[in-house]
Amino acid sequence: MYKEIRLSGTGGQGLILAGIILAEAAGVYDGYNVIQTQSYGPEARGGASRAEVIISDSVIDYPKVTSPDIVLIMSEQACDKYGNQVKTGGIVLLDDTNVDSRPVLDGASIIALPITEIARHDVGRQVVANVVALGALVGVSKVVTPEALEKAVLSRVPKGTEDLNMKAFHMGLERGRRAMTEHETP
């Protein structure tokens, strides 16, 4: 198994933390080899933000994503830049709260979910949109086990926010699973 995952959006959406959590779930709790990298502008908020995770059961040589299996898109700008960079057979998971356009894809799936909206209304805090996204990503791709991701979320989020984040994770997971089922049974 060798999976490349790209998480893209805007600074302040917590995507780098999401990348770290996903990598930790895969590496520390699911036992895969893993690499996580990121790129960001000098500004902490508002600039383009991108985190990448590679998960493999063998040694990972090159640390950069070259042909992603899964792409999370959390902003219109990210959609323009990374929306159609996905492997054949891959998945684009798109936050349609923030993204109106749809990439034109050949042989890859688009799953659109109102990730930010779910965080804001169903969970109650927009700030946990990144964890909703991780839940959804696991729901649609099964790239790591939900148990591993849960542990990784709990080890990385601030003390006192565990319940909120667990709620966010499970809501995302549920919505992701449902969306995938709907996608696969037309």
């Binding site: 520390v28 690499i35 040589d61």
Partner: protein, 384 residues
């Protein structure tokens, strides 16, 4: 600490910079002085938290020069000491690195390379400080330069850096890059009893008989080093000095000092040369790479094998002293050596020197702040 995960467990996900800090603690580092600079700052941040937990001390100095100077001062008390910086800060530290070289004070200087010259691109990797690491300070000086290419390697190699620095009383430059410094990988933290830790040799003679720069009783290269404050009461200077440590301009004494200092590079060479050979057994084209470029080299070699090319990778973790005899020997067995670097072609000059025309040397350069890709190396392999 950023990494709340896995406290008490040995499997961790961490950045290269975090591994550098943790490896340094394992090596026995108990003093760090530094100045904030991207992309090395996490090393300082982590050590500000870690050091006091083991009775060590961290200080953020007023500038880069003060940081390396404080590190040298702390080392004189017998404390393993570290500083970390990036391009502009590494330039500023050069004079004091020269002081550590001539006064033979163990210390390790981490340079997490970013794009230069000057401010360059602070948040992107580069490998353009390879020559500076060797020749950055004035004068003929010995310095060992190590370069990791993964997070796990950062942890173990920084320990080697300290071992070398302590054993040979020599400054060691640890060249990381933004890519390795900021990437997170899973690592297994070794048990402390699995690690070999070397401490400097201290004098056992009567303080009255102590000659701080007399190496004759040992192997003729490295004199024992007394800690300040232990009654040996000796003098250290950046001037050329005699065996007593006092300044001299006597030609034979100056000559003896400079030659002895530089002989460390030759004598240490074998034991400080760390090269990983990947698929080298039957290789007839070799990728000779280091740091983040070696990662692309590994993928390129693997893919080349899949298309029937007998490619191999030499991943060197030691840049200086340059392993020239080793490269010379390889040169006579292969059709070509490809040297990918994120600079205008620096270490390739050493490869060419070592190869002495015995085989073709191909330089691959990239200076756009992006790592060399496996495809670039692969097409070079196919082009041979």
């Amino acid at each position: 600490m950023q990494n709340k995960a896995g406290i008490g467990t040995r499997t961790k996900l961490m950045q290269g910079n975090e591994a550098c800090a943790l490896g340094a603690i394992a090596a026995g580092v108990r003093f760090f002085a530094g100045y904030p600079i991207t992309p090395s700052t996490e090393i300082a941040e982590d050590l500000s938290a870690l050091l006091p937990r083991v009775g060590g001390k961290f200080i953020q100095m007023e500038d880069e020069i003060a940081s390396i100077s404080a590190v040298i001062g702390a080392s004189l008390t017998g404390t393993k000491s570290l500083t970390a910086t990036s391009g502009p800060g590494f330039s500023l530290k050069q004079e004091s690195i020269g002081f550590a070289a001539i006064a033979e004070i163990p210390c390790v200087i981490v340079n997490v390379m970013r794009v230069g010259p000057s401010t360059g691109v602070p948040t992107a990797p580069s490998q353009a400080d390879v020559m500076q690491a060797r020749w950055g300070t004035h004068g003929d000086h010995p310095v060992v330069v190590l370069c990791p290419s993964s997070v796990a390697e950062t942890y173990t190699l920084i320990i080697e850096a300290f071992n070398i620095s302590e054993k040979w009383r020599i400054p060691v430059v640890f060249l990381m890059d933004e890519g390795i410094g900021h990437m997170r990988e899973k690592i297994e933290i070794p048990n402390s009893d699995e690690l070999k830790i070397i401490d400097r040799v201290r004098p056992v003679c009567n303080p009255n008989d102590y000659l701080p720069f007399d190496a004759d009783k040992g192997d003729g290269t490295v004199p024992p080093m007394a800690d300040f404050g232990t009654g040996y009461r000796y003098h250290l200077t950046g001037l050329t000095h005699d065996k007593t440590g006092f300044p001299t301009t006597q030609r034979p004494e100056v000559d003896a000092l400079i030659r002895r200092l530089n002989s460390k590079m030759d004598k240490a060479k074998q034991e400080v040369t760390f090269i990983d050979e990947v698929l080298m057994d039957d290789a007839d084209i070799v990728v000779f790479a280091y740091g983040i470029s070696a990662r692309a080299g590994a993928r390129a070699v693997r893919e080349a094998r899949e298309s029937g090319i007998s490619a191999g990778l030499l991943k060197t973790k030691t840049l200086w002293p340059f392993p020239d005899e080793y490269v010379e020997e390889i040169a006579s067995q292969v059709k070509a050596i490809i040297v990918p670097e994120m600079n205008m072609g620096q270490l390739v000059l050493e490869v060419e020197r070592a190869v002495k025309g015995r085989t073709k040397v191909i330089s691959l350069t990239r200076v756009d702040a992006e790592p060399i890709s496996p495809d670039e190396i692969l097409s070079a392999l196919k082009g041979v």
